[in-house]
Amino acid sequence: MTSEAIQERLKTIVKPYINNQENFEKLSKESDFINDLEINSANLVDIVLDVEDEFDIRIENDDMEKMTKVEATVEVIQKKLSQK
């Protein structure tokens, strides 16, 4: 799966959690979940669970810690998909 396709699906996943609509609409690789999209930090675990369900992968704690921005998250997903 291309990183663009993953990012598009990730955008749908994070939508219910965002608190900054403007930054969400111009979501890019550089977008930071907490600082730009103003997602409550507790909800990051929910996003990880939703990502696991959407892509049928399992994300361990060390990978989860990296998932604070769109680009890093897409990379983790891509890596997990390639290991399947």
Binding site: P16, Y17, A42, N43, V45, D46, L49
Partner: protein
């Protein structure tokens, strides 16, 4: 130090027979039962397959919980309390702003919160899936989840806590909030209580064999406080909320005043004398009522109406005897008395607050709701008080002073005296 006067300026309710204040008033006036048969209880081999579960429409849910807050939301008590608490806030015509409101606090109690969510969590943990619990497991299952949730919605910066004292929880919460305002520590306190619904809350009571099992085909007839054929309390659930406010603050902002909280008392029977985990010590019950009258500075003859605890067990006659002895009134001198449990069953930790909301509506709008399922009053009760003091039909009448008491599992008591508010 002079104590401040405390009034009620807003209310909210989620009851088995109605959700929302105006619907609830209509329901209790009409004697509408909220008790229904539940297939789930039958499937689980419960003896008592009936109970009271509030109906919450998606629209009401959407008005009180964001789409995100609704994800994985299984704590029914949190749903009921969240709705009732926010209704009371809006009813008091208070704004929700970005500023912290340090003048307002919350005391919102419960027995156990989110048992459905706990059940889900236990299964996941046992399946070695603890990592998949999600972010709201803690909020939904901690006892103070309800006060924490309302705090975030409303921005309250005074004391925010949850009390827990079984069936007295709601009445106790009101008295705790009352005291805080009396002593000038807060201007407003949102008080109330909630209780989850369903088999995982009610199971323990079914196991105690204290629930009526003969009415699975006729659920509306099951809850019979003060009746000769009373055969146990009907398990129920819901939430009630009241906005307490110093009279000064209420007048300052021109708030609608429902009633005044004159005073009250809480105590325990220590599970001594006749008292036990499940039965009240009558000495302590009578003392609680007498002390409440002293605190409120009223004479027993002035009480127009009692909203009893009256769960529909053999203890109802004992309760009436305790009231009669504490007030030193009997026969035709005894005040009117009613029990909301004949309409909605026993909502456990939510009972006190549901019943307080019904009491305040009676004071504000001058009526006494009917006692249902009480065609033949228990002979031990008839010996103590005149039958006419137990209204079986709606009576329109001005209520000036009302006594509300709750007596709880563990031998704990609470009694509060409410008064109609006149501009004086």
């Amino acid at each position: 130090m002079e104590k401040r006067r405390v009034v009620i300026t807003g209310m909210g309710i989620v009851a088995p027979n109605a959700t929302g204040l105006s619907q609830f008033e209509q329901a209790i006036k009409a004697g509408k039962s909220g008790i229904e048969f539940h297939q789930q209880l039958k499937d689980l081999n419960f003896s008592c397959q009936i109970g009271g579960m509030p109906k919450v429409t998606q629209e009401v849910l959407d008005n009180n919980f964001t789409a995100l807050e609704q994800r994985g939301l299984l704590a029914s008590g949190l749903i009921y309390g969240g709705i009732a608490g926010q209704e009371a806030w809006k009813d008091a015509q208070l704004e929700i702003g970005d500023e912290l409101d340090t003048d307002t606090g919350i005391i919102f109690g419960t027995g156990v919160l989110g048992v459905e969510k706990l059940r889900e969590a236990f299964h996941k943990i046992d399946d070695k899936q603890v990592r998949r619990l999600g972010s709201t497991s803690v909020l939904q299952t901690m006892a103070s989840g309800i006060s924490a949730f309302l705090c975030g919605k409303l921005g309250c910066g005074n004391q925010v806590t949850s009390n827990s004292s079984a069936c007295t929880t709601g009445t106790e919460a009101l008295l705790m909030g009352h005291e805080r305002i009396q002593y000038g520590k807060a201007k407003r306190m949102l008080v109330g209580s909630c209780s989850d619904s369903g088999p995982y809350v009610w199971g323990g009571f079914d196991a105690l064999r204290i629930l009526p099992y003969q009415y699975n085909d006729t659920p509306e007839l099951a809850s019979q406080p003060m009746s000769e054929s009373a055969s146990g309390f009907v398990p129920s659930s819901g939430a009630g909320a009241l906005m307490l406010e110093s009279l000064e603050s209420a007048l300052e902002r021109g708030a609608n005043i429902y009633a005044e909280v004159l005073g009250g008392h809480v105590n325990s029977g220590g599970q001594r004398e006749q008292g036990s985990m499940t039965a009240p010590n009558s000495t302590a019950v009578k003392s609680c009522i007498s002390q409440a009258l002293i605190d409120a500075e009223v004479n027993s003859e002035e009480i127009d109406l009692i909203n009893g605890h009256l769960t529909a067990t053999a203890m109802d006659a004992t309760e009436i005897k305790n009231w009669s002895q504490a007030l030193r009134l009997s026969g035709k001198e005894f005040p009117y008395i009613n029990s909301l449990k004949s309409h909605v069953g026993h909502a456990l930790a939510a009972a006190g607050s549901l019943e307080l909301v019904s009491s305040v509506l009676e004071i504000k709008n001058g009526f006494m709701f009917p006692n249902l399922n009480c065609e033949t009053i228990h002979p031990d009760i008839v010996k103590l008080i005149d039958e006419e003091k137990i209204p079986r039909e709606l009576i329109e009448k001005k209520i000036n002073l009302l006594a509300k008491a709750s007596f709880g599992f563990g031998d704990v008591n609470a009694c509060v005296i409410l008064k109609s508010y006149t501009n004086e």
